[in-house]
């Protein structure tokens, strides 16, 4: 199943946020969206996920989702969005309760998601008892439980410390390794973008327009090697040169707002 951004423009309170953004996320592909602060990255993701109606253009799906997918477009949120009154297990089960799955099947799905994210020992814990990294793992487990075709990740690591970020980045790479699940990954962090994405959509400052779409010329498996580090760093610098001036302008704009 492909996800298509078709000429998406968005205006909010008289402010142009996005301007004719078009690209396609092919089945199993990971596309990162980067750009200066306030360029509309998260707004674009909300539009792609059907949580926000664009002023113009549309988000479209092409092809059928996998037969067993319960929610083809599934978000992983920056702030985890866990229900604080529910245990880890109940949080993961939350999106399944109103699906076709019976309780036994739900339990099996939850058990599998807990196992895949290393949370089996924490099923009875409440979110307040968990670290930031563990909370995001619950968010990821909840997303995996509905077997998405495309994960929509809105800066999923930005609220975490660098060590936890690194561990979760490894988890993401592992989860996306078989190519059955695609992702749109919004981030400020260029290193995360080059490590995870197949292509990187670079947005200009507000109103966000596509400045460039950069293809990463190696597989994710190849990026772990020492030889790849130089190439990835060079790509990162290339991306930074694309957005540096605008990032400075955006920073000044925010400060003067």
């Amino acid at each position: 199943m492909d996800l298509i951004a078709d000429q998406i423009s968005h205006r909010f309170d008289g402010l142009d946020v996005l301007d004719r953004v078009s690209f396609t996320v092919a089945s199993g592909e990971v596309v990162a969206i980067v750009g200066p602060s306030g360029c509309g990255k998260s707004t674009l993701l909300s539009i792609l996920g059907g949580l926000l109606r664009p002023s113009e253009g549309a988000a479209e799906l092409r092809g059928a989702p996998p037969a067993d997918s319960l929610n083809p477009l599934t978000f992983v949120f920056q702030d985890f969005a866990l229900l604080p009154w529910c245990t880890v297990e109940a949080n993961i089960e939350f999106p399944l309760v109103h699906t076709v799955l019976d309780p036994a099947a739900r339990k099996a799905v939850v058990d599998d998601a807990l196992r895949r994210t290393g949370l089996s020992d924490f099923r009875g814990a409440y979110p307040k008892q968990l670290s930031g990294g563990m909370r995001q793992r619950v968010g990821i487990a909840r997303a995996l439980a509905v077997r998405p075709a495309i994960l929509l990740m809105d800066e999923p690591l930005s609220a975490l410390d660098s060590q936890t970020r690194e561990l979760l980045m490894e988890d993401f790479i592992r989860l996306l390794a078989d190519g059955t699940m695609g992702a749109v990954y919004v981030t400020h962090n260029l290193e995360e973008a080059v490590r995870l994405a197949d292509r990187i959509v670079v947005l200009s400052r507000r109103p966000g327009r596509i400045r460039e779409i950069v293809t990463i010329p190696m597989t994710r498996a190849e990026r772990g090697g020492i030889d790849a580090r130089g190439k990835l760093l060079s790509l990162q610098n290339q991306l930074w040169s694309l957005i540096r001036e605008e990032a400075i302008d955006a920073e000044r704009e925010v400060q003067h707002a």
């Binding site: 996920g49 059907g50 949580l51 929610n71 477009l73 599934t74 978000f75 949120f77 702030d79 969005a81 229900l83 604080p84 009154w85 529910c86 939350f94 999106p95 309760v97 109103h98 409440y126 307040k128 509905v146």
Partner: protein, 274 residues
């Protein structure tokens, strides 16, 4: 290999001195024992003042006299007659006001139309002292229990509606968006996200409405009732039976404490996740 810095040495000319602690205070905690001791001391002093004749018992009877009055009331059966009349009025009025307040509060919290209409009416009617409506309610509903219960229900309704819609407004929007992103149906979002998210505010509202109900039942009973704690206190005051008057006040205080405890238990059970 990492270079290690040499161990720092402290010269005789610079003797170490402790860093002055500046972090004291601003962290009060409620010590249960100190509260009970203070209460015991006040009652003891009050008793001493009464027993020693420092105060006229007509104006301020000693705690022992109040305890005796309560005991006699209990023995005669009058205590239960008055307390049960008040409890029935409070219970009915609170329940009606709470159910309506929760429904209207959720309506205001969830619907644009209900918000527009509801907030206008609540803003206009909430400041009216509800006891001022009792004569009108007597005209409408007669002189039985109905106007007293309606007065309590009105007082409880407005506070409940406000606390419920404030609670609904306070539910983090990201949780609602999360539920929507998983295609969770509207009714399930209300039941499984908004209701538990608004519960802290709703329970805080219950605490306020319980006090409002107590205040209004006493006021309503003072205006037009034969039985009930408010009627009993007024009657005792008219007859200068200050020990009985204060017995009624103590019973009201105990009732308020019991309701507060019940809400504490409810909070502990329902909000254990906080």
């Amino acid at each position: 290999m990492l270079d290690r810095a040499p161990q720092e040495t402290i010269g005789a000319e610079s003797q170490p001195r402790p860093v002055i602690f500046r972090g004291a205070g601003f962290t009060p905690s409620a010590g249960r024992a100190s509260g009970w001791i203070a209460l015991g001391l006040v009652i003891a002093f009050w008793q001493l003042a009464g027993s020693a004749g420092w105060v006229n018992p007509l104006f301020l009877p000693a705690p022992s006299a109040i305890a005796v009055a309560i005991y006699k009331l209990a023995l005669s059966g009058a205590l239960w007659q008055h307390v049960s009349a008040s409890v029935v009025r409070i219970g009915s009025g609170w329940l009606i006001g709470t159910v309506l307040g929760v429904i209207v509060g959720f309506g205001i919290g969830l619907s644009t139309l209900a918000r527009g209409v509801g907030i206008t009416f609540i803003s206009a009617l909430f400041p009216i002292p509800k006891i001022a409506l009792l004569p009108l309610l007597i005209l409408w509903l007669g002189i039985g229990e109905e106007p007293k219960i309606a007065t309590i229900a009105l007082g409880v309704f407005f506070s409940t509606a406000i606390s419920v819609y404030s609670g609904v407004d306070a539910v983090p929007r990201n949780l609602i968006r999360m539920a929507q992103s998983f295609n969770v149906p509207f009714h399930a979002i209300v039941l499984r996200v908004i209701w538990p998210g608004a519960l802290p505010s709703i329970l805080a509202g219950f605490r306020i409405t319980a006090s409002v109900a107590l205040l209004l039942v006493v006021s309503a009973e003072m205006i037009g009732a034969q039985f009930g704690i408010g009627a009993f206190v007024l009657q005792a005051g008219n007859l200068m039976q200050t020990d009985q008057l204060l017995a009624g006040v103590v019973i009201l205080s105990l009732f308020g404490l019991a309701v507060g405890k019940a809400i504490n238990v409810l909070e502990a059970r329902l909000l254990h996740w906080r």
